[in-house]
Amino acid sequence: MKNSLNTISRLMLLAFSMFLLYSCAKDEDTPPVSTTDFSEGIFIVNEGLFPSGSGSVTWFKMDGSDRTPKLFEKSNNLLPLGNLAQSMTIINNDGFIVVNNANIIRAVSLKTFQQKGAIEGINLPRFIVNTGDGNAWVSSWDNKVFVFDPEALTVQGEVSTGTGPEKMMKVGEALWVLNQGGYSIDSTITIIDINARQVSQTVMVYPKPTGIQVDENGNVWVMCSGHGWNGWPASGDSRGHLVCIDPSDYSILVDLEFPETDQHPEKLEINAGGDELFYIYPGGIYKQSIASANLELAKIMNHANGFYSLDFDSKNDVIYATDAGDFQQDGWVYRFQTTGTLIDSLQAGVGPTDVCIGN
């Protein structure tokens, strides 16, 4: 018995020393000092680990080489970006990263990616549009859009919108705000006079507007996704619509209806020429010519898992589509020519949601 006791006490000692070893083996990460100029490149905004993780920005050179994951953390003494990074917009030589669930908009120098300042306190911010008049606008889930000074980083004012404002676009002297509806339903576009900072018109379209573009003729195309979920039919579902609106009188020039109530088109991008539209539809990326009188439903790229978001590099006429996977591991960004030919794929961070092309 004595022997076995000894063996057991030795085993315990071994286990205990192992445990000491582990507890001492903490290592401190130190950020590498970077000399790279980041302004010419691709910024992929990643939402981050679901649910409590931090978002990140993955940077690539335009040719897809020189990947830098967690660019913001690395450039800012390991400060995490925050929970649920949503979008990034470039204004002059600064990047503005909207971190939705942290109520923060971080302004960084594009060159060094070091934080210059931040706007805090806008509740659940989403997307930013630069109106070029020394101001920028940000949409917020408080059912408002806020106007701010991107230099001074101060909020100048706010305008109430419909429910769940998301994507916006400057059209002439107006800001078009898509009221996506959040978890309820909204079918409107709030049109704001950017000088008067007042609502000038509310345009009724179809449920859940998710994408907006201006074509070569100056007409505004809006993708209305329709209410409901893909492949998960429920009562109250409605069909998607792609509509073309004349910005002078808000009349609907073209109204293209999608065939299914449980298959929803989403997002909207336009080529550099302004005559070809791209959108996500279950199974891949589809295109639509602005001249066509009918819905073409022309698939240019097949992707069974579906894409999470869509962006366009109008300088190089390249489509960017993100695959966010399960939000528990790194996702991917695919680059396509407008014909649908795959150029390459870029390894993003966790949950890539927005692609911002540098200067």
Partner: protein, 631 residues
Amino acid sequence: MIIFYLTLTASWTFAQKLHPDSIYMLPDVRVSASKIVTYSAGQKVESIDSTLISGSGNVGLGELLYRNSSLNINRYNLNGLNLLSVRGTTSSQSSVYWNGFQLNPPNNSLIDLSIIPANYFNDISILYGGSSSLYGSGNIGAGIHLNNKPVFKKLQYLSFYNSIASFHEYSGNIKAIYANPKWYFKTQVMGRKAQNDFRYKSLEGEYENFANAALRQKGFMQDVFRNFKGRNISGISLWYQENDKEIPATLTSKPADADQKDRSLRGVLSSKQFIPKGFISAKLAVFNDYEHYIDPDSLQVLEIDSEIETTRIQGEVSMNKQISKSTMFDAGVELIHLTGKSVNYAQQINQQQAGIYLLISQRFLQNKWVANLKMRQDFNTDFTMPFTPSLGLEGPVINNLKIKATVSKNFRIPTFNDLYWIPGGNSELKPETSWNQDIGLLYKTDTASRIDFYSELTAFNSMVDDWIMWIPDGALWSPLNIRRVWARGIEATAKSNVSFGKVKAGIMANYTYTRSTNEKKLYDNDPVYQKQLIYIPKHRFQLSLNLVFAYWVVGVDQSYTGERYVSADNTESMEGYLLTNMYVQKSLIFNNDRLILKAEILNLLNEEYQAVLYYPMPGRSYSISIQLIIQ
């Protein structure tokens, strides 16, 4: 009078030994109270020392188990969600039972161990590994069994407990027992209030007070049992619990304003009729759980104002009988009716379940070896349930060294949320199934020896198929039977009690090594293939030591949780952390009454750590308590 803490060393209740209070003095001692005790041969069973339970004040079950067992518990903040993760499985794959009935609500199967006051119960046992053959669904990782067991002897007991702790925590409870050979009455009332406004370091490096983390709890438990001359024991246990918890922000998110209010009303009616060499048991349970979560900030667009109400009505009849000197069996039927109401379900959910089981325990080789064969078949209105057999074997190899082995089939049914949540619920889901194997060696000194030593070494292995995961497709998340997970590891436990003159020392150490990996490739080059599941530490170590002398007790406990991956492809992880706690306790005795004073330092080494990503935890903190026991 029992001298309170002299029982401490004597009652280091080694595995499978029950607290003396809970053993009925019946003519045939072999007819014991619980299915676990009689039919768990071959499996690892750990009982939490009864003095630890009764001395735990109003501490949550999660905290008690984290400090005194090898269980891995993921703790979100102080007093935040405490979720079990045992043997490489997730929290919904283990269950918590109260008097034999599952507490995990059917909507999400998650049980928050932080809001269950540990000292409500006089018996807490952990049944490691699969136990679907005993208890049906939800028993892949482990089962925690909480019991209120009556004692039929003359006893009048009244206890008042009060404590004050750091971060504005005030708590108290009253416990009253009146018992005689015929009756047993026990009333317990508890209340607890805490601000949890501890100082933490923000990501920017500034120290701030943690906000929106307050907790308010009140609860009531009543047991009434009647002993009809040892021929029948019948009784009722009622438990009402109310919790109001603010839900704090993580380090990376905006200040929070969310709040969750829960209330649970649970009742168990039981009757045990003793027959020659056995008993017939009939039980009925009615549980109702209501949860209301509201987040004012996100209300406008996300409509996060969620109410969920679930009900479990369960009836159970079984017969346990010894049919020869070495053979015993238990056969039973269970009927379960579950309901769920939520704005996220299209209508009220009703689910009917039934289970039939036969358990056989056979002794052989001079009754020193025990083998058991357990068979159970469940039925459910929503899906086909697997047949779950189990085979266990246990016996001495040499002298004090015992060997244990089990093989079992286990399963977990999808939750109401998995099946019916709008949007995304998937009514086509199948139950998760697993095969579990354990082998263990147990060494125990003879009870007469001066040094009491006990150790157990267990290797476990399980393969879980049709593992359910919520996967996004665009913006829609839906659950699928998508994974196969191989969980295996080693658990080592050692306990010892030694006397040096008037000083008695007790030591306990636990170490767990866990590998739990994803064994199914979803596509070529799947980066998650063969990677460790998130939040499952490979290493966990727990150590506690106490010294008892002349009404004084001094104790130290330490637990280490190793590195945990937080991303499924194992590219991101959190570092391990070591927590040390220390306490001093003094009992003052006045005739039959006693006053117990206790002072405790938690996180003595002021470790800065997170148990779950970006949920800060407090540094060093203090608590003092006073308990008056009148007998």
